[in-house]
């Protein structure tokens, strides 16, 4: 069954319905096959990773088109699975927040989800009834906090109070603390100064109590944003900027200066030695057309030509910490391939069933 399906698996298999039938003589299996038919039109995209941190990645994707870039972006945001709290049984809640409010807040806490790809969706799990009793599809959490009689307000947080029964799946800040204790902190990720308090769930005053049992399940961002591993995923077309240097040399230094400054982002600069206009950062260009309008206003149309390269993209990926940026990219490719596999025509669909037999048989 399809990984992306959101309905019960009984209906998960995609169907293909022929609406336009082919003329009978074209459907004959013995028909002549020209060489062009069945040839491969596959592309070989190139990748260059510019930056790769635990929760951030920047890379170039070339030799493919916007449909592929956008499919990857969409899958990263909405279809790569993670684990999040989905069911909460409140045993006792005398806090100021109501039960539903707390359940919602618990759901939004990112949990370490490296295991999510190999877990089952609880609706597809036949080892349990999706009630959290099974290790394949769910993880149980406990939370018990009580503000004692001191005058201090008690902060209930994801780091301190939310206890997982499976060490693989825990709030991301607990994992980070654990890694720091082991000394496994990335050298290039300087310890985010200060805040180790984790995510605040609720504050308790004297005598207030919160006790609950929660079940975390595998899910995808399409069903609820709490399951999205992506904080942001963006891509931009790589711009191809060409300055007409001959025309540029007809400008005075002041004119050049004012043209360079017309760009809201720092794309161009003036070489202090040669006084030539240079491109310092093409990717800072936001396709705002300001420099083009400025050139026209100065009576110098064609001073610069800017085109988006249609087969070259710059991606930035940020995750919530549930999985690493690298895992997010790789899982997105895997999920997209699973989706493609799910929409393949089945062998028995190939002859279009009864209609096909009718068409071939005449």
């Amino acid at each position: 069954s399809s990984v992306c399906s959101v309905s019960p698996k009984s209906a998960a298999r995609p169907k293909q319905n022929p609406c336009g039938g082919d003329p009978p003589h074209l459907r004959r299996p013995s028909g002549m096959e020209r060489s062009a038919a069945g040839a491969s039109y596959q592309r070989f995209p190139r990748v260059r990773i510019r930056e790769l941190k635990d929760e951030y990645a920047k890379f170039e994707l070339k030799d493919t088109d916007a449909s592929m870039a956008n499919a990857l972006r969409r899958v990263m945001i909405a279809e790569v699975p993670t684990v999040a709290i989905d069911l909460v049984e409140i045993e006792s809640n005398s806090s100021v927040l109501n039960d539903e409010f707390l359940a919602h807040r618990l759901g939004l806490i990112p949990l370490t989800s490296s295991a999510a790809m190999s877990m089952r969706f609880s609706r597809d799990c036949d080892a349990c009834d999706g009630d959290g009793s099974c290790e394949y599809c769910s993880v149980e959490f406990h939370l018990a906090a009580r503000a004692t009689d001191s005058g201090q307000t008690l902060e209930v947080t994801s780091t301190k109070d939310l206890r997982s029964t499976d060490p693989k799946v825990c709030p991301v800040d607990q994992q980070r603390e654990y890694q720091q204790a082991l000394g496994n902190v990335d050298a290039y990720e300087p310890d985010a100064a200060g805040d180790h308090r984790g995510i605040l769930i609720v504050k308790l005053r004297r005598g207030q109590e919160l006790r609950l049992r929660a079940i975390a399940r595998k899910g995808i961002g399409k069903d609820h944003a709490k399951w999205s591993p992506a904080a942001t995923v963006t891509f931009m077309y790589e711009p191809d900027i060409r300055i007409n240097q001959e025309l540029m040399e007809t400008l005075t230094l002041e004119e050049k200066q004012s043209w360079v400054e017309s760009s809201p982002t720092k794309v161009f600069d003036i070489d202090p030695v040669t006084q030539q206009v240079t491109i310092v950062d093409p990717e800072a260009y936001t396709y705002d057309d300001e420099v083009i309008k400025k050139a026209e206003a100065m009576g110098k149309p064609g001073l610069v030509e800017i085109n988006a390269k249609e087969d070259s993209f710059v991606f930035t990926v940020e995750t919530t910490g549930a999985i690493t940026a690298y895992e997010l990219i790789m899982n997105a490719i895997t999920v997209l391939r699973q989706k493609l596999d799910a929409v393949r025509l089945q062998d028995d669909d190939g002859d279009l069933g009864e209609l096909g037999a009718h068409l071939i048989g005449g």
């Binding site: 022929p18 040839a39 491969s40 039109y41 070989f44 969409r74 490719i333 989706k339």
Partner: protein, 84 residues
Amino acid sequence: MNAASFTIEREDHTIGNILRMQLHRDPNVHFAGYKLPHPLQYKIIVRIHTASQSSPTQAYTQAINDLDKELENLKQAFEANTFE
């Protein structure tokens, strides 16, 4: 003219658009398009017209195979890039 409409249940623009663009790369395909008939219905319709030496089913299967190979390639490209 060889023409067919494929209804793909439980898919959206993610699959629809890459499939359409891949079909456009096939010179036997005279027309390829997809539509999401209604935002609340979780299905898309892909329409394919092909030249007589091909067929919509053949073009469809070929497009999926090519996309799958492209993604396999992409995965390897990422792995090669990270561990170098």
